[in-house]
């Protein structure tokens, strides 16, 4: 008897039909706003090298509603990234004698402290201009 196996090549839409795959691609999609955010940082550094006036222009540009909306999206993406990333850390970091749950908790606490430190440092070194500019 001859064989005639049926083959169904994967379609581009494979991820639409299963919630686990949709969650996975949402996690990967956090890279898009965060990539643009990294480009914003590069631009800021470049404008800084052009002097104080150029740097001030850059700061003013970032006050535009469009950029504020973008940064709100970037914060959400980064929080989702952090949550999903730390969820997976115990699978890679296996330390005998320390449970995966403790490793996850440790990273969650470290992330809260880390973000708080950055925010604290920013508030100390960049005095807010009272909302006016």
């Amino acid at each position: 008897m001859t064989r005639k196996p049926y083959r169904a090549p994967q379609r581009w839409s494979w991820w639409l039909k299963n919630p686990a795959y949709r969650r996975y691609l949402l996690r990967e999609a956090t890279a898009l706003p965060l990539f643009i955010y990294a480009l914003v940082l590069v631009t800021g550094l470049y404008r800084y090298t052009q002097g104080q006036l150029a740097f001030t222009r850059w700061l003013e540009a970032l006050q535009a509603p469009g950029w504020l909306v973008f940064h709100a999206v970037a914060v959400a993406a980064c929080v989702l990234h952090a949550a999903t990333w730390i969820e997976l850390v115990p699978k890679l970091l296996v330390v005998p004698g320390i449970s995966g749950r403790s490793i996850k908790r440790g990273h969650q606490v470290a992330a809260l402290i880390g973000s708080a430190l950055v925010l604290g440092a920013a508030l100390v070194s960049w005095p807010l201009a009272g909302g006016a500019s």
């Binding site: 169904a8 494979w14 299963n18 997976l88 890679l92 005998p96």
Partner: protein, 251 residues
């Protein structure tokens, strides 16, 4: 709870069908009936032409994996009562494999990949029996025990979109067994297995979707194993760079 349930089975008869099409069977519902037992009922009472694989009925042989409502699961470990409220469920052969006939997937590719990683203890030199057994402490056993629970059912391959896109990827179970033997204190075959792990078709095709671990019926956590394999492969890559810098050969 109604007294019967509609089971839609994707049927594929080579030479007769161009592609699988669903056929409906009505099976009497009872709370302790598994999907596998329902298939046996269909075969015995309704349609003797239905083809599917099974053997042990107790989640050890790994033969009866099918897609149940789109999820890779073992037929023997899934019960009809879960679907009683909806009154129907849909079965098809495991995704990402060619369909041989009806619910039978051709898992040859998976078997090839298993063989590639030499999933057995490799010894550099055989010890005579007079020297006694290869002993292991409980701590040494603990390092790999979880990964040795794999029953080769292939559900993780049906869950893996990377294997689905390109079946040259060694895939979750084979890479898990590679780590299982590399972590075994009695084994000397680690260097040989690393060559497979280090390749693109080895651990590096994996993008940590993680669904393999969700569907594993034995809680083996293949995603953990594959990603620990990435750590091992990265260390191996660094050591190899050092060797190359000293003018030694690539391994």
């Amino acid at each position: 709870m109604s007294d019967s349930i509609a089971i839609y089975v994707a049927r594929y008869r080579p030479g007769q069908d161009e592609a699988p099409t669903e056929q409906r069977y009505d099976v009497p519902l009872s709370t302790d009936l598994s999907v596998l037992e329902a298939l046996n009922y269909i075969k015995d009472e309704l349609d003797p032409t239905l083809a599917y694989r099974w053997s042990c009925r107790m989640a050890i042989c790994g033969s009866c994996g099918v897609m149940i409502d789109g999820e890779p699961r073992l037929g023997c470990k899934t019960f009809l009562r879960e679907f009683a409220d909806r009154g129907e469920l849909h079965l098809r052969a495991l995704d990402n494999f060619p369909v041989e006939r009806d619910l039978i997937a051709d898992v040859e590719r998976f078997m090839d990949h298993l063989e590639t990683v030499k999933p057995w203890t490799v010894h550099n030199s055989e010890r005579p029996v007079s020297e006694g057994e290869y002993r292991q402490t409980p701590a040494e056993l603990e390092r790999y025990q979880q990964f040795s629970q794999c029953i080769n059912c292939g559900l993780c391959y049906a869950a893996c979109p990377q294997f689905g896109r390109d079946d040259s990827f060694l895939g979750p179970a084979a890479l898990t067994l590679a780590l299982r033997y590399n972590l075994d204190s009695r084994d000397d075959g680690s260097a040989g297995r690393m060559a497979a792990l280090n390749a693109d078709e080895g651990v590096w095709r994996c993008t940590f979707v993680g669904y393999c671990s969700e569907v594993c019926p034995k809680d083996v956590d293949p995603a953990q194993a594959v990603n620990r394999g990435k750590v091992a492969s990265t260390i191996n890559y660094g050591l190899n760079l050092l060797r190359l810098a000293r003018g030694e050969h690539d391994t």
